[in-house]
């Protein structure tokens, strides 16, 4: 899994490469948390939190999930330690992603002041061409 931040004058692009959808979602969750927290550690008290996001497509659901994570980071000062479980479903044109994360609580993040998560115009899809 590779997590990369590409910044721009007004915002930053969080890009993740992975071998499965689960790994990519994990990359986004850990990537966002680490970006906001910077090098700050938090107390060694692990808590487990469930989060979910939904929308008409996977991007929408991911943005919704990450927005909820950002809200928890800002209001409850939680830092993601690891991802425990991921489930996603598609029902009646609604994609849902539900995750369980292990998190710890800190004083407050000292990394980037991320205020919102939203859609990117970018789609990167890889295929293999056999030569």
């Amino acid at each position: 899994m590779r997590v990369e931040i590409k910044d721009h004058t007004a915002d930053a692009l969080l890009a993740v490469e992975g071998h499965s959808l689960e790994e990519i979602i994990e990359g986004f969750i850990i990537g966002l948390s680490d970006y906001v927290w910077g090098n700050t550690d938090c107390d060694d008290v692990n808590i487990v939190i469930s989060l979910s996001g939904d929308g008409p497509d996977m991007t929408f659901a991911l943005v919704s999930l990450l927005s909820d994570l950002l809200y928890l980071i800002e209001t409850d000062n939680i830092k993601v330690v690891s991802l425990e479980d991921i489930a996603y479903s598609r029902r009646n044109s609604l994609v849902n992603i539900t995750v369980r994360i292990k998190a710890c609580k800190g004083k407050h993040p000292t990394g980037e002041d991320v205020k919102a998560v939203s859609f990117s115009m970018r789609w990167d899809v890889s295929v293999i061409l056999d030569l």
Partner: protein, 475 residues
């Protein structure tokens, strides 16, 4: 730049092509044009495709690539058949600037600058994670969202005349706290009266140049005067409102048959249930921002009273302007008066004399337009002209606009070096984070003088005064 038609030295047109319903216009000098990213031009063209847009999509001299809609962008849509797009207002709803006057000259303050700046820094929470000491109950928050700056004044955090000197009197009556989510309440309740981080600041400035002595005198501005500029917005509450409503609007868009070239420009008809509800939520967030700037100014005044012994009411507000907002305004389009939803994102309202929205204080002159620069350069006060109404829906530029990303600036600078360099130039900086200082280094921004000169030369607004920073508080 390809496809641009030069109308005159400072105005370029992008003719209609593809799905554009109207042309686009750029107000830039040839030097600023070189710095405009192709992405910002594409975004301006995308805005021109939105239903109900009138006249043209406008790019100000400080235009740069934003979320869907360029920062430094203005677009107006007919209320009857046009759209509203949260991307055209931005995440930091009612981010804006206010300028407070003092009765002091630089020589009165110079030896006490450190003391007063420290007092301000200690009384206004700043930086990532900084929390307000105001503990608001839900009912109080609802009143803030409904009444904006008036709530602060009624709670002894300002003077009643401050409201006459605030755009919209610091209160959009369309605000409806019921359209604000619980998450937005949660994010906002600890942040009222806080500065935030990033490009937000409190600056003690000194008036260096007066360009229009009569207007300056009328407004109480004079050379060598100490003034204070405050730049901040609606904090996490505004960002949460934007996040919530971008999602709602993106969902709803399909049922109205609206297709946009970029999902970040998700839009619904203004007159739809979702459009009106978003407008009410946006107005509530705007009110939160006006209350926020009012409370911060109250604390700045108290810091001056405490450290310098001057009276609280000797420090009038010159003006407070929003630069990320949507407004319902009447404008003349093709000879007929129309009611429009004007989106100003990174653009400042610029209403000349006579507009019905102006308070008596500015009925005869038009209201002051405030354009801040970076922390190493000047900021400006301008007076709008009729041309602003004719050409830009009564709008002007809002600032310098970034040229370097935060990371690029961090690679290039250390916060401590920037603080030392500014100190050598007589500018004292107090910041919650050295990193923020590096990110906000003066060379991370365009030349504000060039931006303002375009506005002045085009004649949208005229330069009244230029202030230089002496003391800066950053998050």
């Amino acid at each position: 730049m390809k496809g641009l038609k030069e109308l005159n030295k400072f105005v370029y047109e992008i003719p209609r092509e593809g799905g554009m319903r109207v042309p686009a216009r750029l107000y830039v000098s040839s030097r600023l044009l070189e710095a405009v990213e192709d992405g910002a031009i594409t975004q301006l063209k995308n805005v021109a495709t939105l239903p109900g847009i009138v006249k043209y999509a406008i790019g100000m001299p400080d235009i740069h690539w934003g979320y869907g809609f360029p920062i430094g962008g203005v677009a107006a849509f007919d209320v009857n058949d046009g759209v509203i797009t949260p991307g055209g207002i931005g995440f930091d709803i009612n981010c804006g600037v206010r300028l407070m006057l003092t009765p002091l000259t630089w020589s009165d303050l110079q030896s006490k600058l450190d003391r007063v700046l420290t007092a301000i820094f200690n009384s206004v929470p700043a930086g990532v994670g900084a929390e307000s000491d105001l503990k608001l109950k839900r009912v109080d928050m609802e009143r803030v969202l409904r009444f904006g700056a008036r709530w602060a004044v009624e709670n002894d955090m300002g003077l009643s005349e401050d409201l006459d000197r605030t755009e919209n009197r610091g209160e959009m009556i369309e605000a409806d706290p019921d359209e604000i989510s619980g998450k937005a309440f949660d994010r906002g309740k600890k942040q009222l009266g806080t500065l935030g981080a990033g490009n937000h600041f409190i600056e003690i400035q000194v008036v260096e140049d007066i360009f229009m002595p009569d207007i300056a005198r009328q407004w109480g501005l004079y050379a060598d005067q100490v003034v204070v500029m405050i730049h901040t917005g609606s904090r996490g509450l505004g960002h949460q409102v934007a996040t919530d409503w971008i999602k709602t609007v993106a969902y709803a868009m399909k049922k109205y048959g609206i297709k946009v070239p970029d999902p970040q420009l998700a839009a619904v008809p203004y007159s739809s249930k979702e459009g009106m509800a978003y407008f009410s939520a946006m107005a509530a967030a705007a009110n939160f921002a006006w209350a926020n700037r009012q409370i911060i100014m109250h604390r700045v005044r108290k810091a001056f009273v405490k450290t310098l012994g001057i009276a609280y009411d000797e420090m009038p507000l010159l003006y407070d302007v929003a630069h990320n907002i949507g407004k319902i305004e009447k404008h003349v389009v093709d000879g007929a008066e129309k009611l429009l939803v004007v989106h100003r994102k990174g653009a400042t309202r610029a209403f000349p004399a006579g507009r019905e929205e102006l308070s008596d204080v500015y009925k005869e002159t038009g209201h002051p337009v405030l354009i801040p620069g970076d922390m190493g350069s000047g900021s400006y006060v301008l007076v709008p002209t009729e041309k602003a109404l004719e050409e830009t829906f009564g709008s002007s530029a809002h600032g310098a606009g970034r040229v370097l990303s935060r990371r690029q600036a961090l690679k290039r600078h250390k916060g401590t070096d920037i603080i030392s360099q500014l100190e050598e130039r007589g500018i004292l900086v107090k910041s919650a984070s050295k990193r923020t200082v590096a990110e906000e280094a003066p060379d991370a921004y365009k030349d504000v003088d060039e931006v303002v000169n375009v506005i002045d030369r085009v004649g949208i607004a005229r330069k009244v005064s230029r202030q230089i920073p002496k003391g800066v508080v950053k998050g």
